[in-house]
Amino acid sequence: MKLLKKSGEEKTALIQRTALIQRTAAKAAAFFLTLVMTAVCIAGIIIASGMAHSGIYTKSEDEFMREQAGGIVQSDMNEIVSYVMKGRNSFEIEEFCSYKNISRVTVTSEDVHRTVWSWKRDGEYENDTEYNMYVRWDNKSNLITDISSRRFLSDRSAKNVEKIKFSIHYLNPPVIDDSYKQRYDLIHLAYSMRYAVYFIIFASAFLAIASFVFLMCASGHHKGREEAEKGWGTGFPLDLLSAVVFLPLFPLLSPYNFNDIIIVLMWLCVWEIPFTAFCMSFALRVKLGKWWRNTIIYKFIRGVVRIVRKIPFVGKTALIISGVFLAEFILMVVNRSSNYDQILALWFITKLILFSAVIFVAVQLKKLKQGGEAIASGDTEYKIDSSKMLIPDFKEHAENLNNISRSVNIAVGEKMKSERMKTELITNVSHDIKTPLTSIINYADLIGREECKNEKITEYTEVLLRQSKRLKRLIEDLVEASKASTGNLEVVLTPIDANIMLMQAVGEYEEKIKAFDLEVITDEPSEPISINADGRRLWRVFDNLLNNICKYAQSGTRVYLSLGRDGNDAVITFKNTSSAPLNISADELIERFVRGDESRSTEGNGLGLSIAKSLTELQNGTFGISIDGDLFKVVLRFPLV
């Protein structure tokens, strides 16, 4: 009943864990319960196995009793036999019998079938248990030659040997307090309890497990604290603790000690105490997380890893490879005597391991290479996945590459931002310049309109007007060049008929070109060529190029405009003969403010080509210039629709 009550307590304890696990008394009780119940359980198992071995579960109580009481009956019988055979006083035998639970003794001679001696207790005993003993008696020497609980089947005896049967009846149930009664009571108890043992085993096992689980949950929890706290020897290295706790078990495993089961069991019962404490410590370590950290083995491995990490990459590689070779060599030497097949298998296995390691390294190198290529080609968004790189040096390298691409990305962003700010600045400044410029142009114009006798004033005014108009143009071009080069310009790409475009451009410029005494020769295919471009921006490109031609082409020469198809590109070519020698490279010519003529005497500001190039590129086209002597050639390429 007491056990059942405790079990009920345990159940509520589990339910109200949060409250109970913080109580020291509850924990102490659970600890005690665990120890006791485990001991009970073990004892129960031993008893049950012992009882099963003696056959308590297969035999009837009577039969079992007979078997178990055999020793006591034997000793009683011996006493009686010796009394009878040695012809002692029958009073002594009677006294002996009356002190035992014996109800009747009959001694009969088998040979002559007569009762030699008998004794009977006063009163009627119906449930007597009868035990028989057969004795062979040598008349000549007055000695017992043979005693058995069974009848002698064959008669090998000589003439002077007498066969005697002893029959003893025991009281059932026994009433006199002697060794027989004690044995009888014990057997009776064992027999009536033979199934209850199982219940005790299960109940105690359940209780032991329940209280053990409770202990595991409760370990580390203290009054008024939410989280588990250190304690239970968590500061002590786990593997050392395990050694201390588990080493005493090893002697028990030797067969010599194992036979002495009682000592073993007692030892186990005592050992339970440190073991339970160890379990609580372990449970607490698990709760605190990373339980493996506080072990000597972990610390040792970590130390080794740290040392290895400090070794430079090449040294590390050399160390690993030489380690592998050394292991291989040792294995070869050890297996020198063994047969060829074994050596072959060993070679195969080592090479397989080496192969997979090399492939693993190669895969990571490939990732790094891809990342490096992507970053080198300007893909600053590319990220190398370093999460699966197990080799720390490679991982570090991947992260370095990622950092490079990130910083490049940031630098590019800053550059774009500063370019945009520059454009804004230029735009704003140009607005501010334009207002006074308007007045300059207008008043120069007004001076020019005044009738003036002084010719010099008229001439100077013309210069003033011309130059201020040039300044106006320069400011406008500057704004446009800055916007075009930073891409700060809205470009709407639509399919455009390049043939019509060319025709319109020529039409717009026909008269101007004629005025410069130039002849335009166009060459276009009959099939329409369609490109994706922004008409107005493209016109600006054509405008600048044709304007350049007007400015710099040698008068009296021909200008060639051609449109063609080259693969997936539409190619538009402008060719003209320069009036001034072009002592300049094509790349320099596109630079802002660079002009073909070094004197800078002609009109123009050197922004035209730069703007045209930027605008072409904004429309996904390419802008190429080639100079061959005086032949100046511009090639525009746009992808076909």
């Binding site: 207002t435 007045s439 300059i440 207008n442 008929d497 019509i500 025709m503 319109q504 039409g507 107005r536």
Partner: protein, 232 residues
């Protein structure tokens, strides 16, 4: 007599404009910010406004928005801002024309004249039958004459036909090939090259600034069209 309001915060520019627009028919009023301009307009009967955008106190755009609540007077914006977005914004909030600084004085005078004519003479006139009107262009198919802001211009028959084709389908883009086929009534075997030249000539006759046409627009890579609506 026309009353013109010149509104700019730069006195020098106002003075220069006054000189350029000195005409016995014009009376010039001046203002130096948007607030003053609105005040003058509410006080005087103004027929045309030349207005700067960047001005202290009240800028040109805001002043025009306010002005347009009650008044339909033509407004020409004069500004140093030359970006397309600025132009579109100005025209969207109700400007009739847009001139960027530094301006050509002749062009300013021409535009002023054009706006005044349209506002004073054509504004209320009934559109005659057989005539097409877009902005300041009026093409009379019966008399075969074309007038720009009331002034008749001389066009060659081909130019007239091209203009008639485009104006009668205002807003539609014609490719050079189509124009050639419609006007020359021939198969365009390379002949459409002349269309561009004719268009250029036509533009010189009907536009104040052929490089920045108000009516006859070049749609690069596609063709030509007459802008539908009032035209800029």
């Amino acid at each position: 007599m026309y009353n013109i309001l010149i509104c700019d915060d730069e006195q020098d520019i106002v003075n220069a404009l006054k000189i350029y627009l000195s005409d016995p028919n014009y009376t010039i009023f001046e203002a130096h910010n948007g607030r003053e301009a609105i005040e003058v307009i509410s006080r005087e009967e103004i027929h045309l406004v030349l207005m700067d955008i960047m001005m202290p106190q009240l800028d040109g755009i805001s002043a025009m928005v306010k002005l347009r609540e009650t008044n339909n007077v033509p407004v020409i914006l004069l500004t140093a801002k030359s970006e397309d977005t600025d132009k579109i914004l100005g025209l969207n909030v109700g400007a009739d024309d847009y001139i960027t600084k530094p301006f050509n004085p002749v062009e300013v005078a021409a535009r002023v004249r054009s706006q005044l004519r349209r506002y004073m003479q054509l504004g209320g006139s009934i559109v005659k039958r057989d005539s097409y009107v877009v902005g300041g262009i009026e093409l009379n198919d019966r008399s075969k004459t074309v007038a720009i802001d009331g002034d008749e211009v001389n066009l060659t028959p081909k130019e007239y036909d091209i203009l008639k084709l485009l104006i009668s389908n205002a807003g539609r883009v014609y490719s050079p090939k189509e124009i050639y086929a419609e006007v020359w009534k021939e198969n365009p075997f390379g002949g459409e090259n002349t269309v561009a030249v004719h268009i250029r000539h036509l533009r010189e006759k009907i536009e104040i600034n052929p490089a920045e046409p108000r009516y006859l627009k070049v749609v690069f890579g596609q063709g030509y069209k007459i802008e539908k609506g009032k035209g800029i």
